[in-house]
């Protein structure tokens, strides 16, 4: 099936999602909603210090408290070697995962888990937690990324030697690695430049801010097998990580995915699950653990705060001649910031003959960073897209025209070497230019910002099973938690191929025992990769249906075609053969060979890169520095929108997360390295009254790598907003904003500084 298919019957419509009623009535079961007989309450004891050696942990008093059933420390998990394993998908150091779940020798950030216990009630668990005595030797700490890179900075890991540099360093440091990408000859590129913009930018770490805290219920049987109910972006990830950390076989653990109340990358690793299993193993009873919001902020992954340096060279006509970026990203307590992804994405929307990115991955005494929606890309794009805006102002060129002049198209070589396949970046710029938003007049103290963004989107392993029920209704089972409406798109793609009513297709998320391995819900991969598996499973089902119809007609399978949900016989003879419906074939399945099903596991290649362009109007109050978003339009090449309403929702939600990042959200630490704003009151995410409607334009340049043309859509929309907002504020005020968040006091300080300077 080619994606040139002109018309679709189901794809592109906006049906009610299959899990919708459960979610508007409160019936859907999320991570914290599971209750098992005899279940204990598990809690975590956390370090109050940003950096401390753990000299000893005395759990005896806690253990002696009536009602306490289990107490665990790092000694209850496997002491894993430090090695990068590429067994799963992305490379991972399971020692770091384990040490982040529970500290072994050192607590590396405030909130780092040091012990966990389970008791018969919340009150007893809290009382017992207070009885655990940890003897700490408090060590000097470092929070800031540039401070952490300085010689003599407090060292987090004495065995951390910078990778990616030659010769290999003799001394340990907080710089975990340096990654470089380069293209052409940078010196030549800058020599050709007639204008050069050189600026430094900073962004603060921001939390994914999902509304559902991490939650798990786990039970460990006497036979050594375990079941885990939890909210995550991947039940197979939870199973693999828990097996590794607890020294179990993967087959001994079954993970049942709960509904997931938001993730945005923040639920792509484990925090509580191994502890709940260890507590259940020790107590012989089910254990439930739910993280508090404060612990979410202190101990789960935000994305990196960054220091970004951009140098951009261009001709007077606007043609880019060279680009250089230096990216310093906070990894948090363990290596693994997405600095390299910033380096790979920042310049990708543009044609550069000469470019270079140098990316530093730096540890400091903060929670280990976790993936967050297009990891690493928004911060690099903030720098690049701000520099482009400044260049447009200097050259007096329209910012969309400047981007169009340099826009990447199919065949453009990226900084990471690969040439782009078919992409729709230019189309988003043209759509932005044509949008009424772009020509609407602006009032006093108002400004309009433009910015673009790129994300790869990924494919990878996915499985799908289609079961035809006896009455011709159909089950679609996949292995990816539905984080934003993917059940709807899975069912729609299956219905499209099978040619049946969507109402007859029921999508289900299988647990780890019910469906073959599927990589996580992340990387904007589910509608693309798992969708591809669903389409192939539906096609395999159609092939069976044709075979069964052939048997019923006593003709050859190749004499049966499948059209609009019916088997048609192409043999022309004296017999009239009325088409069979799917239901008719299903009824006869017992007589024609047994149940009909299609099972497919793939490693999906051909993910289509995504580009977006955002327009943002702001009004800045010169008295207070407060920035109000007055109009916002997100335009994106989505390949093909399966369910356009949920695609629009991705653009709107991503844009608003980016607006929060640009205007309000930040981590504030005191002098001891303790987080000051570990709650939603002081960590200010956007609320409804902060925002206007978010307009969207879905540009559809089909991805040749997907049967229906799907591109991933979830991550691109968080890439442009930081710069779109900053460019708008800069143009509204006449002062270039280079540091986030642009909170009222910060904006006011910049305005005052500019006033004093002039």
């Amino acid at each position: 099936m080619g994606n040139e298919q002109a018309t679709f019957r189901v794809v592109g419509t906006r049906p009610v999602r299959p899990d919708g009623v459960d979610k508007v009535t409160g019936r859907a079961a999320f991570g914290a909603d599971y209750q098992l007989p005899g279940m204990l309450v598990g809690v975590v004891v956390r370090s109050p210090h940003a950096h401390a050696r753990i000299k000893s942990i005395d759990v005896s008093a806690a253990r002696a408290l009536p009602g306490v059933q289990a107490v665990v420390t790092a000694a209850d998990l496997v002491d894993l070697p430090s090695e990068v394993s590429s067994g799963g998908e992305a490379p991972i150091n399971f020692r770091h995962v384990s040490l982040n779940v529970i500290a072994r020798d050192k607590a590396l950030y405030e909130g780092h888990a040091v012990a966990a216990l389970a008791a018969t009630s919340t009150a007893i668990a809290a009382a017992a937690a207070a009885l655990i005595k940890v003897d700490y030797e408090v060590l000097p700490h470092v929070i800031d990324v540039l401070e952490a890179m300085r010689e003599g900075a407090p060292l987090l890991h004495p065995d951390l030697f910078t990778t990616g540099v030659a010769p290999a360093p003799a001394a340990a440091s907080n710089v975990a690695g340096v990654t470089e990408f380069s293209l052409g000859d940078l010196a030549q590129g800058f020599a050709e430049a007639e204008v050069i913009i050189e600026r430094e930018y900073t962004t603060q770490p921001v939390h994914q801010g999902y509304i559902e805290p991490h939650a798990v219920a786990a039970t460990f049987g006497a036979d050594g097998t375990a079941s885990v109910w939890c909210s995550s972006q991947g039940q197979f990830m939870v199973r693999e990580y828990c097996a590794k950390l607890l020294g179990m076989d993967i087959g001994q653990i079954r993970v049942i995915p709960a509904e997931i109340g938001g993730g945005f990358g923040g639920k792509t690793t484990v925090y509580l699950e191994p502890l709940a299993l260890a507590l259940s193993r020790q107590s012989g009873r089910p254990v439930k653990m739910v993280m508090s919001r404060g612990d979410e902020f202190k101990a789960t992954g935000p994305t990196s705060g960054t220091h970004v340096k951009i140098k951009l060279g261009a001709k007077r006509d606007g043609t880019f001649t060279a680009g250089e970026m230096t990216l310093k990203y906070q990894a948090g307590a363990f290596p693994g910031s997405p600095a390299f992804l910033g380096g790979m994405t920042g310049f990708t929307p543009y044609v550069f003959e000469h470019a270079k990115a140098t990316c530093y991955d730096v540890v400091s005494n903060r929670p280990k960073s976790a993936a967050y929606r297009a990891p690493g890309a928004p911060m690099a794009a903030f720098g690049v897209e701000s520099a482009i805006d400044e260049l447009a102002q200097q050259l007096n060129i329209d910012p969309l025209e400047l981007r169009l002049k340099n826009a990447a198209t199919a065949g453009t070589r990226t900084l990471y070497g690969v040439k782009l396949p078919v992409v729709g970046y230019v189309e988003t710029l043209e759509a932005a230019k044509a949008h009424p938003h772009y020509s609407a007049p602006l009032g006093p103290n108002q400004g309009r910002g433009v910015a673009s963004g790129f994300w790869f989107n990924i494919g990878g392993p996915s499985s799908a099973a289609i079961h035809v029920n006896e009455d011709g209704t159909v089950e679609v089972v996949t292995g990816n938690p539905d984080i934003g409406g993917s059940r709807a798109s899975m069912a729609m793609m299956a219905a499209e191929v099978l040619g049946i009513d969507l109402a007859h297709v029921k999508p289900t998320i299988g647990d780890t025992a019910q469906i073959a391995y599927s990589f996580m819900t992340g990387g904007s991969r589910v509608t693309f990769a798992t969708g591809k598996a669903v389409i192939e499973a539906a096609e395999a089902t159609v092939a069976q249906l044709r075979g069964r119809a052939a048997k019923m007609w006593k003709v050859e399978p190749n004499e049966v075609v499948w059209r609009e949900g019916l088997a048609h016989c192409t043999r022309v003879d004296e017999t009239t053969r009325a088409p069979f419906t799917l239901a008719q074939i299903a009824h006869q399945a017992g007589r024609t060979g047994g149940p009909i099903s299609g099972n497919v596991s793939i490693n999906a290649a051909g993910a289509g890169p995504g580009f977006g362009t955002h327009l943002c109007d702001v009004e800045v109050d010169p008295e207070t520095g407060a920035v109000k978003i007055i109009r916002y339009t997100a335009i994106q090449d989505v390949g093909r929108a399966i369910h356009p309403a949920y695609v629009e929702g991705q653009l709107q939600g991503g844009a608003v997360q980016g607006i929060g990042w640009a205007l309000n959200e930040a981590y504030l630490y005191d002098a001891q390295g303790c987080l000051l704003n570990s709650g939603f009151l002081d960590y200010r995410m956007p609320v409804a009254s902060d925002l206007p409607m978010i307009d969207t334009v879905l540009v559809e340049v089909p991805n040749p790598g997907h049967p229906f043309g799907v591109r991933g859509v979830g991550e691109v929309p968080i890439v442009p907003p930081l710069a779109a907002v900053a460019n708008a504020v800069s143009r509204a005020t006449g002062v270039r904003m280079t540091d986030l968040p642009m909170s009222p006091p910060h904006v006011l300080a910049q305005l005052d500084r500019a006033k004093t300077a002039s």
Binding site: R27, Y210, G649, G679, V687
Partner: protein, 162 residues
């Protein structure tokens, strides 16, 4: 300490429960009464995921003690639909795709319904400020605000014909 014996009305039904003094109404609903539709997103009254009505007034169940429910009427998300008939706002959320992950949805529906009971002709600004105590990280609020506005319009239409 002995537990408190509380008599209250939940979703129209007389209900009794035992709770400890420090247990919140949210804890009671979720842990004692198995009404898990109200969600805990923060426990500090900042996210609105546990929104319920207490004698018709919109409150965060995490900021109310279980004992405070004595003699009062509590409406939770489980009481919004009449049996299997959805409230128009629930239907509007489905029609407008006003939810992605769905964790905040019960709170938004309880809060939105409370608004419509007071004001069936809200402006967009009214809706945005009324819902400012409910956090959603997925949608950017656009489709949620539209769902409430469209539902109000539809309910006005029905009221004028009714």
């Amino acid at each position: 300490m002995a537990k408190h014996h509380i008599q209250t009305t939940i979703n129209g039904e007389p209900t009794e429960f035992l709770c400890e003094t420090q247990q919140t109404l949210l804890d009671v609903l979720r842990d004692e009464l198995d009404l898990t539709g109200s969600k805990e997103g923060c426990g500090t009254g900042d996210c609105g995921a546990c929104s319920v009505l207490l004698d018709g007034r919109l409150v965060c169940a995490c900021l109310v003690l279980g004992v405070e429910a004595a003699g009062r009427a509590v409406t939770t998300i489980e009481g919004v639909a009449q049996g299997n008939v959805l409230h128009p706002l629930q239907q509007a959320f489905l029609d407008e795709a006003a939810l992605q992950c769905g964790i905040c949805t019960p709170g938004f529906i309880v809060a939105g319904k409370a608004l419509l009971e007071r004001n069936l002709n809200p402006t967009e600004t009214d809706v945005r400020y009324w819902l400012a105590g409910n956090l959603c990280r997925c949608t950017g609020y656009d489709k949620i605000v539209r769902a409430v506005m469209n539902c109000a319009a539809q309910m006005r239409e029905e009221a004028s014909h009714g």
